[in-house]
């Protein structure tokens, strides 16, 4: 091999791995700039609010954007309950989100099994009907929900307005919200699997619980995660139902905090925002693989 062809090969290698300055910038470098701009846009508000949460003055008067000094006073105020029972709101939110998510997924998974595996009259019509009804979020009927729970509350005081139980039930209008995604996954699992089990003597419920449910774990985890985070943000029905300070969720409580006195409560709100967001962000990072999968299959976060 001649020296010139060696030289050519070496050049080509360099072109692939170490582009010269200008060309590198035109083909690759600008991508980093775009990425950095996007990153600043995405991350700066979050970094800033974390800063505010540690700024004893709430950063509303400071001339600089950076916190003037660092202290935990906002967290102390928040957790001390001076601005409302924050920990109670936190607990309420967890209770509501867990129960709503669990009930919603249980109802959806059971119905998805019937729609995917069992053959019965009106099945096609049933799926269509459920899909169509689920297109109407029940908060569109807020006037009716409100007076409905006023009425029901006189008979069942346990679920009257301003109780968590009533609020959770009101959110169960979305009980079949995940049926489509789960049915789609079930449809992709070969039927011969459950047929074999039935030949072995399994009942329909055993097929569902012991054979199909384990396979559905990834999709259930994804939808559960998105339903959970979506429920944290439920505000409309919450603002109508939860008027007692002790039964408020974070959504209603933090909104009230800001409405009370915007500038004075800014730092305390920031501390609350950090305490709500950080666990969710960590969860998202850990489960990123599933979330990405869920997003591309059509799951919409609330």
């Amino acid at each position: 091999m001649s020296s010139s062809s060696k030289q050519m090969l070496a050049n080509r290698g360099a072109a692939q791995h170490h582009l010269t300055g200008g060309r590198w910038f035109r083909e690759v470098g600008w991508r980093y700039i775009v990425a950095v701009v996007a990153l600043v846009f995405a991350a700066f508000p979050i970094v800033f609010i974390i800063g505010v949460s540690f700024d004893p003055r709430g950063s509303t008067t400071a001339s600089s954007i950076l916190p003037s000094s660092i202290s935990l006073s906002n967290y102390q105020t928040l957790l001390g309950g001076a601005k409302g029972p924050f920990l109670r709101w936190y607990l309420n939110t967890i209770i509501v989100c867990l129960l709503v998510t669990a009930l919603q997924l249980a109802c959806s998974a059971l119905a998805a099994y019937a729609f995917s595996r069992l053959r019965f009259r009106g099945r096609r019509g049933g799926i269509l009907l459920v899909l169509l009804i689920m297109m109407f979020p029940n908060f569109l009927a807020m006037t009716a929900l409100y007076s409905m729970f006023t009425d029901l509350g006189t008979v069942f005081p346990a679920i009257r307005l301003s109780t968590l139980a009533g609020y959770i039930l009101a959110l169960m209008g979305g009980s079949l919200g995940q049926v489509w995604l789960i049915k789609g996954t079930l449809d992709s699992i070969p039927k011969s699997l459950d047929e074999a089990a039935i030949i072995d003597g399994a009942s329909h419920f055993q097929v569902f619980r012991l054979i199909l449910l384990p396979i559905l774990v990834p999709i259930i985890a994804t939808t559960a995660m998105l339903a959970f985070v979506g429920t944290i943000s439920e505000f409309m029905i919450g603002s109508l139902f939860l008027v007692d300070n002790d039964t408020k969720t974070l959504a209603v409580g933090l909104y009230g905090l800001l409405q009370g006195d915007k500038s004075a409560n800014y730092g305390v709100f920031a501390a609350g925002a950090v305490m709500v967001s950080v666990p969710v962000i960590i969860l998202f990072q850990v489960l990123q693989r599933y979330i990405v999968g869920g997003a591309t299959s059509g799951a919409v976060k609330g």
Binding site: T61, M142, T143, A144, Y146, S147, P214, L254, I281, K301
Partner: protein
């Protein structure tokens, strides 16, 4: 013949033997003992609830709920105590919730939309008469006065009631303790003895007494309480400050004339039941309006719709809000998609280092709960101390100017929404074969032309269903408006909507926002919103081809 599931490549391996943990019950079609116990427990609880509720539902004349409760209970027993109806066993839980908390509210909304339901028109005609009569009770010179204690059954009900009044006559030694609730008759307390200190009830077993500050806080609700006096239709007990008195009503109802008669004036004033506007009420003929602005719940036919679609002022506001809703939802999807797409194309290059790390950080806004994002940004746009003005050294009134408020909304939606589109587009880009790009480059297309003329159309096919779902979601994205701008700033001369109100937030304001709530009229708007949402849903069905995959 070997079935595909026995191949090791299949996602699940089926063991020839029963799965571990199933034990013998795997072969037993009747299920385990535990399952039977749970089943009996659930059936028992539901039966107990029904037995508890049915007499009460009859007492309160809630016929619809009586039918719903009975149907739900009967079908529960029919479905789960027999071996038949296997599909129904799986569909029942979800369907019951769906029917009660989604279908029934929708039906009720349609019903309400044909009534005058709202402030001053909530109860029945009888309740309205009772309330007007009770409100006319005034103390006379010889009225007995009582020391008042207000109680609730548990501490959690302090803010909400229902309240029970405990009364002890003033100026009497060892007065008997009387009690009464709103609308009920006053009676002597015969429960566990109450503690009376200085002629004032200070403790009742099983009740929580409100402190004076608590009574002050709930004064509006508490001072509306009226307790009847047995044997005298015109007499009643009312509250004045921290005391109660027994007085006599100056207004009475005359069933023959169907009118209220006020005896306090001379001669007595008659308020006849007549129609004002769409609804009937007792008319104060001197003022030409409903007496005390009180009416009762009644059918008004299509009057709400006529007002919504016939009154040009109202119609124009509704249409303007509809137009902005479309712009809001479409604009959101467009800018989030464009940003997400361009970012995905930019970062979809093998020469970029640490792609996973970049992606993790760019996903951050998506991970923050929407509620927190919105509240956080509403602070950033504050004129005086908001982050946005401080960074750019500006003094813009973001949330006070109609145009700027809309810009602010789009900025926030971009921040919240671009990561989702970025993930979706990154996923879709990976499924576009690289030889497509290669071919375009050989044909001499520039990078930009390849991106927009070749990659974009291919990608759109894949993500179109998601864009449509996203549009439908944003169409009713109440939080995005309520938490950020609350629909503001308001527009002079427009009472229905603020400049950034979308349809759903407009309905909310009319139904629950501050003064003059009109639930019937708001329900009529809801029904129109149902129809619009339904049309969107139909479009979504067509575009996402969901129907074709229903086997």
């Amino acid at each position: 013949m070997s079935t595909p599931l026995l191949k090791s490549s299949s996602p699940v391996r089926v063991q020839p033997s029963p799965p571990p943990g199933a034990g013998d019950s795997f072969l037993n079609r009747n299920g385990s003992v535990l399952a039977i116990v749970i089943k009996i427990a659930v059936l028992g609880v539901v039966l107990a609830l029904a037995i508890y509720a049915i007499p009460l539902l009859i007492h309160y004349q809630m016929w619809m709920w009586l039918v719903v409760m009975s149907l739900a209970t009967v079908s529960l027993f029919v479905i789960y105590t027999t071996k038949h109806f296997i599909p129904a066993k799986y569909l029942y839980p979800g369907s019951v919730f769906l029917c009660i908390f989604l279908v029934i509210p929708i039906i009720l909304t349609v019903q309400y939309s044909m009534t005058n339901f709202g402030d001053g028109a909530r109860g029945s005609k009888a309740e309205t008469i009772e309330s007007i009569v009770a409100n006319s009770i005034k103390p006379s010179a010889d009225s007995p006065f009582y020391n008042l204690a207000v109680a609730v059954e548990s501490a959690g009900m302090v803010d909400s009631g229902p309240y029970t009044l405990f009364l002890t006559a003033t100026g009497v030694t060892d007065p008997p303790v009387l009690f009464g609730v709103d609308g009920g008759e006053v009676a002597t307390w015969t429960g566990e003895p109450a503690t009376v200190t200085d002629g004032q009830v200070t403790g009742v077993p099983g009740y929580v007494l409100l402190t004076r500050p608590q009574i002050n806080q709930q004064m509006a609700q508490i001072s509306a309480i009226a307790v009847k006096v047995p044997g005298d239709d015109q007499a009643g007990i009312r509250i004045q400050g921290f005391q109660a008195y027994e007085g006599s009503a100056s207004i009475s109802y005359d069933a023959q004339q169907d009118a209220l008669i006020d005896h306090a004036t001379n001669p007595a004033t008659v308020y006849p039941n007549q129609k004002i506007g769409d609804a009937y009420c007792f008319v104060d003929q001197a003022k030409g309006q409903c007496f005390q602005a009180q009416s009762w719940l009644q059918n008004v036919g299509a009057a709400n719709y006529q007002r919504l679609l016939g009154d040009s002022g109202v119609r124009n506001q509704f249409l303007a809000a509809f137009g902005w809703t479309l712009i809001f939802a479409f604009g959101n999807v467009l800018i989030c998609f464009l940003a997400g797409f361009l970012l995905a194309v930019t970062l979809n290059d093998d020469r970029i280092k640490g792609k996973k790390l970049w992606r993790s950080f760019l996903l951050l806004p998506y991970a923050v709960p929407a509620l927190i994002s919105l509240l956080m940004w509403s602070q950033f746009f504050n004129r005086d101390f908001g982050l946005v003005n401080r960074i750019f050294g500006a003094n813009l009134d973001w949330l006070g100017d109609p145009t700027l408020a809309k810009v602010a909304i789009f900025i926030v939606q971009l921040w919240m929404g671009f990561p989702y589109m970025f993930i979706v587009c990154t996923g879709a880009l990976q499924s576009i074969p690289s030889d497509v790009k290669e071919a375009a480059r050989i044909d001499g297309a520039s990078g930009i032309a390849t991106t927009f003329r070749i990659i974009l159309p291919l990608l759109l096919i894949a993500v179109a269903p998601l864009l449509v779902s996203s549009f439908a979601f944003n169409f009713n994205n109440f939080n995005a408006i309520k938490l950020l701008t609350d629909g503001g700033p308001s527009i002079p001369g427009q009472f229905l909507r603020g400049s950034t109100d979308i349809l759903i937030s407009m309905v909310y304001k009319r139904a629950f926002g501050g003064s003059g709530t009109e639930l019937g009229f708001a329900s009529a708007m809801s029904v129109l919103l149902f129809i619009i949402t339904g049309v969107l849903a139909a479009a979504q069905f067509r575009l996402t081809k969901r129907l074709e995959t229903i086997a």
